[in-house]
Assembly symmetry: C2
Homo-oligomer: 470 residues x 2
């Protein structure tokens, strides 16, 4: 039995008897299927059912359609690479943004603490990791979620003032989003919690020569259309979360002519090219802000039950819902990630699910688009049939189908799009997420990748609050 | 009913009752399945059965294994772009190579004549199309198949002395292959039979500035590994015959650093980049010689029944078989191509199947690898399920599975590889080919793309000759 089947199997008791498609999918997978009655997993049964009932109305469907139209119409362009403090509103020299819902230093997981230690060293606030911890514990740093500042960051997701970020503008609605430059193709990286000298040296180069070159190249451009690039990549074996080989290649093809026109010195050109060209995951740091800018356009539609962010800080999983405007989070526990590990590591070493990168699933790609990305099983485990099963399952918890993001292996059906908190509770099917795995201790880094899901608690809380607001 | 289903349906009467898998595939496709007894399509029934029986032996299986091992072990690298007369053995200033088996000028189809008129103008042997025809009819040009000179050319497949070709070396076995530079992303191109002034002007630039730049860049390189690129592209939605978007992107990523190091003038660099970057079919002119060099390594193994080339000149379809060493062709009629047309064109305008590009199917990609390239149906017609059905069908007529070219949507099963003439006759299943469609008249060009098959006659003749040689 494949890894994903194991994962699905552990999920069986949540099946609603009404969900024939899922039940059939399980049978097709030769997984023993239990057609049991649905028992709500929590004790708030009556309260939850009453809230759910209140949310099934024409008014709410209309609100959801408005939210989805705003998402579908969004046109996210990469317009610049710039220093965080120069472009992210309300950023200060002592702000550090982090992945997921709000969290205090004392409660952070190891890899997030490791990444913050690295940033304190990078910003020059301390000279050793010990000094960095003292500096943070003295209260000099203000922590806040990336999402609350219009940004998204993969894994620890940390952003400090001197870091450079991709600047994405949704030219349809005018809003901006931001995502840090990525550190190249290597396992020991700051965003996974590593902070040794080699990591910091590479980080300085990325946020130095590489960033300045990209700023020079992009700031004078007309912008690069990221939605079109996601559309194409989905027909080329990517799901745009953990498989980004096609998207990264397409991006490089767009960037080459701009690099040539910038008349760089040959050695600079070659260093930049070597970093970008060897990183098959580069495109994640573009798909994320593209979907953040698009989902932010869909956020704040009164009464809408559409999820506009899925995010985790390695301890808590948080979601944002369109109908609850502003920075309102509904949280539950971050989940364990079933996956494949680098040699020398095992699940004993794994941190829980972490990062803002689940913005991709909120945007209908990542785990939702696995059907078109069978080669991802080489990275996260499972087999190619699992990929079809999972995407088909996600249609049961989404409000719409996105013709911009069509599924080649499902005969170009529009991808499952717009997670509807009502449907998650009704079916008991949880959003599925592909993700990287960080070592649970600060200082180690990337150790594997796999598949997990969002916890039910987030959706329960959102349903109660939405019902309360009607 | 989809276009591919129509195509498959017309094929039903050839089903052997023994082929359960194919029969099931048809039922899965909701195609009415006729389980009739197999009636050999020709009158040579007894002779053919006797010949087939003679070819089922351990000796022949061993010969086929040797041929396949040579194919699998081949390591084709792109090592240069050079002028045809400088690198293709036995080429003369008055030689014009053409696609497919041998053919005389008088019997050539319209687009092949158009391409030759274009080349006579390009070589400066004539100043007008009328003069070009006179020049050819005076007997000054020697025609020969590309294949007989170690070369392959898409569509008309023409190669003249001053054209530049991709030079591929199989570094494992030492043999070389050649394929013309491609003309960029445009419908009116010489290889599809167009020859107006604009076509010739573009052709001169391709075989001038572009070719010289690529020669400068590649001749000093260590070579570019094409087998690895095909492997990767097959996991990225390409089948490496009519979908080459991923392969072309991967090639650009390899080429770009070489272009930077060559210190080109900026305007030259930009013209070259613009041509290469906008051509999603570029990689076909690399997958073709890569597979030609690999299949030539497998050619000439005594008694082997493995097909080492499928090729068509627009009138005749020819195959080469490993057990018949040298330039021995087995021919049948070129087939009609079922497909999709550019606006303003229809099947009335279509030439029959043409080009050496079916070397890709002989090498186990193209139509054989459709399972991983669902997005190709947007170009050639059909639906995504057809793609799976066709690849599964091709396993029935191939000798081996190629782990280098694995099929992502079939859970990474090695691709169907090594067409066995015995199995084609035994099952009545014909090799399926994806292909471009040229207008039947000289001077027009590309009008569509679709799917066709090799004719049974080639395989019958090969079986008789192989049996004869034992």
């Amino acid at each position: 039995m494949s890894l994903i089947n194991q994962f699905l199997k552990s999920d069986i008791k949540a099946i609603n008897v009404g969900t024939d498609i899922f039940s059939k999918s399980m049978s097709d997978q030769e997984v023993e299927t239990l057609n049991i009655e649905w028992t709500p997993p929590r004790t708030k049964n009556d309260e939850m059912l009453a809230a759910l009932n209140k949310l099934y109305s024409e008014e709410i469907n209309e609100a959801n359609q408005i939210a989805m139209n705003r998402f579908f119409e969004a046109e996210p362009l990469l317009v610049d690479v710039a220093k965080a403090i120069d472009v992210i509103p309300n950023m200060t020299p002592y702000t550090i943004l982090q992945a997921g819902p709000p969290i205090e230093w004392d409660h952070m997981c190891g890899p997030m603490k490791g990444a913050i230690i690295g940033l304190v060293l990078f910003e020059g606030f301390a000279k050793t990791p010990e000094e960095a911890i003292e500096f943070v514990e003295s209260g000099k740093i203000t922590f806040a979620p990336c999402h609350d500042y219009g940004a998204v960051g993969p894994m620890a997701g940390v952003i400090s003032a001197s870091m450079y970020v991709h600047v994405v503008k949704n030219v349809k609605h005018g809003n901006m989003s931001f995502c840090p430059l990525t550190e190249g193709s290597r396992a020991k990286v700051l965003r996974f919690g590593a902070y040794d000298e080699d990591v910091i040296e590479n980080f300085r180069w990325v946020h130095g020569e590489l960033a300045e070159t990209l700023h020079k190249v992009l700031s004078g451009s007309n912008g690069i259309d990221l939605r079109s690039m996601i559309s194409q990549a989905l027909h080329m074996g990517d799901e745009c979360h953990n498989r980004n080989k096609a998207g990264s290649s397409l991006f490089m093809k767009e960037l080459f002519p701009l690099l040539v026109r910038a008349q760089l010195e040959e050695d600079v050109f070659m260093r930049v090219l070597n970093n970008l060209n060897t990183n098959d995951h580069y495109f994640l740091s573009l798909s994320m802000p593209a979907l953040k800018a698009s989902l932010d356009a869909a956020h704040g539609v009164k009464n809408s039950t559409i999820v506009t962010a899925l995010s985790r800080n390695g301890v808590d999983f948080g979601i944002r819902v369109s109908g609850c405007e502003g920075n309102v989070w509904f949280t539950g526990p971050s989940q364990f990630v079933e996956g494949l590990y680098l040699p020398g590591f095992s699940k004993e070493d794994a941190n829980l699910d972490m990062g803002d990168s689940a913005i991709t699933e909120a945007g209908g790609v990542g785990g939702f688009a696995l059907s078109g990305a069978p080669a991802i099983v080489q990275f996260v485990g499972g087999n190619s049939e699992d990929c079809l099963v999972i995407t088909k399952k996600m249609y049961e918890i989404t409000f719409a189908e996105n013709s911009n993001f069509s599924m080649p292996n499902l005969d170009f059906r529009g991808g499952p799009s717009g997670i509807d908190v009502r449907k998650v509770l009704e079916t008991g099917i949880l959003p599925i997420i592909t993700t990287g795995i960080a070592h649970k201790n600060a200082g180690v880094g990337f150790i594997g990748a796999g598949i997990t899901n969002a916890p039910i608690e987030c959706f329960e809380k959102a349903v109660l609050e939405l019902a309360n607001r009607i």
